[in-house]
Subunit: 246 residues, 2 copies
DNA sequence: AAGTGGTCTAGACCACGCG
DNA sequence: GCGTGGTCTAGACCACTTG
């Protein structure tokens, strides 16, 4: 009875730390400014480096910090709004400057994609690799899976081999009538190859946008685009611009 | 010269571990099955517990595992597709069973929301708290910010106090004509109160869906909905159902 | 009370970017 | 070569759930 419980809910140290640093970020740091290094920060707050890192990880997840090995930790700019609205209803690669074709190969779709395509998982499909660039920085890497059935006027050698092959597939795809598309967004972690192209470490959090392109009652193509979760805010608006900047 | 470098690219242990366990999950475990505990797994793989945990964290981020303190680690079911398509163009709370009103209070919007509402940050707004339930489980917690200007026929006492007040605000809002809406999705970490309602730990990854409701050339309301990133896949489709289930 | 995952420590070494 | 963040260890204790 005698003791009044002042700290009834002892919140974790890293959580408290995250909030403290977050507030400091708002008031005492400018975008792009570099923070003291982790060993220094840990010492300053009187915690182990691992605990300090847990706080920084959260802030990076929220897009407020950017950490680069060999360089340091900097204050991140506000997230970029990236338009992924589905209202345009066009095939990938039509009025293009946002996406650039990187490569085209023949291969087989992963199981989950094969199901969406309604294709035997061992069956060979065209795979087009594209990169989305915004303001000079890569924001997304895409794998576009196109069954050979969707682009009959194309040989395997046409489709393969560098950007030219990739563009050939996109061109053939655009000859079909697009009946509709649906799209989903979920959290994922970057595969090794995507991470390399996005200039991130393997496993970093990404937003995975899966789009199914419908034509003639079939799924004509499936796109799996992985967006950097730290720097991107996906926008779907009619009016597009949900600016939160100052 | 003598030694041939077989492991030219030493990938991190936790990464390799993640892949090994991930494959085991596909082949040797059923949904809902509980894994051996972390100390046991770490010993079995010959790594420190922290390293093992790093691998499990990634798998949980990808929605493949579910960990609960005091209980254990279980194999997660495939993510639930949650429809968040914007095509309906309706005010929140119209043909409702997916969302349930929890509470209504008067308060002031956080800075980022105040900017979207074009409202002085100190100005009092109605705040409606809602919970989205899918298949009996909470999947999202929402804060709906409604400036008093948008619902002039409502006193502060009408709006406050439990579910009834919340529903009063929604009802008034529906009297306006909805001109449009736009929406954005980004990664965030759960605030303490959201985490509690979603049955997660504070800071767990969430998908933050911000919706702006436009009426009469103004932003009549802003909704900030946080979805559990581990269990949810947000769908935007015309045809809605992007099922990846077996 | 026992067993689980969650937090935290104090160290060590590694991989990378830059001067 | 030096300083940075990234990985890893071996241990301790805490918070929670369940029998």
């Amino acid at each position: 009875m005698g003791t009044t419980q002042l700290e009834a809910v002892p919140e974790p140290k890293y959580w408290h730390l995250k909030n403290v640093i977050g507030e400091a970020l708002d008031s005492e740091f400018a975008v792009g400014e570099i923070l003291p290094n982790e060993r220094e920060l840990a010492a300053r707050f009187g915690v182990a480096r691992a605990t300090l890192r847990q706080a920084l990880e959260q802030l990076e997840l929220e897009g407020r910090l950017q950490r680069r090995r060999g360089v340091g930790t900097t204050v991140a700019p506000p997230r970029v709004g990236v338009d992924v609205s589905t209202t345009q209803h066009v095939w990938p690669g039509v009025g293009e400057d946002t996406w650039q074709a990187v490569d085209g190969v023949a291969g087989q779709a992963p199981l989950a994609v094969a199901r969406l395509l309604d294709v035997r998982s061992a069956e060979s499909v065209h795979i087009v690799r594209r990169l989305r660039v915004s303001a000079g920085l890569p924001v997304a890497a895409e794998l576009l899976y196109v069954p050979e059935l969707s682009v009959p006027g194309l040989t395997a050698t046409d489709a393969a081999g560098g950007p030219a092959g990739a563009r050939a597939v996109l061109r053939e795809l655009q000859r079909l009538t697009l009946d509709g598309q649906d799209r989903s967004v979920e959290l994922g972690s970057a595969r090794a190859d995507d991470a390399r192209e996005l200039d991130r470490l393997p496993g970093s959090p990404v937003l995975v946008v899966t789009t199914r392109y419908l034509s003639g009652g079939r799924t004509a193509a499936v796109s799996v685009a992985t967006y950097r979760a730290d720097t991107c805010r996906l926008t779907f608006g009619d009016s597009g611009d949900l600016a939160m900047a100052s």
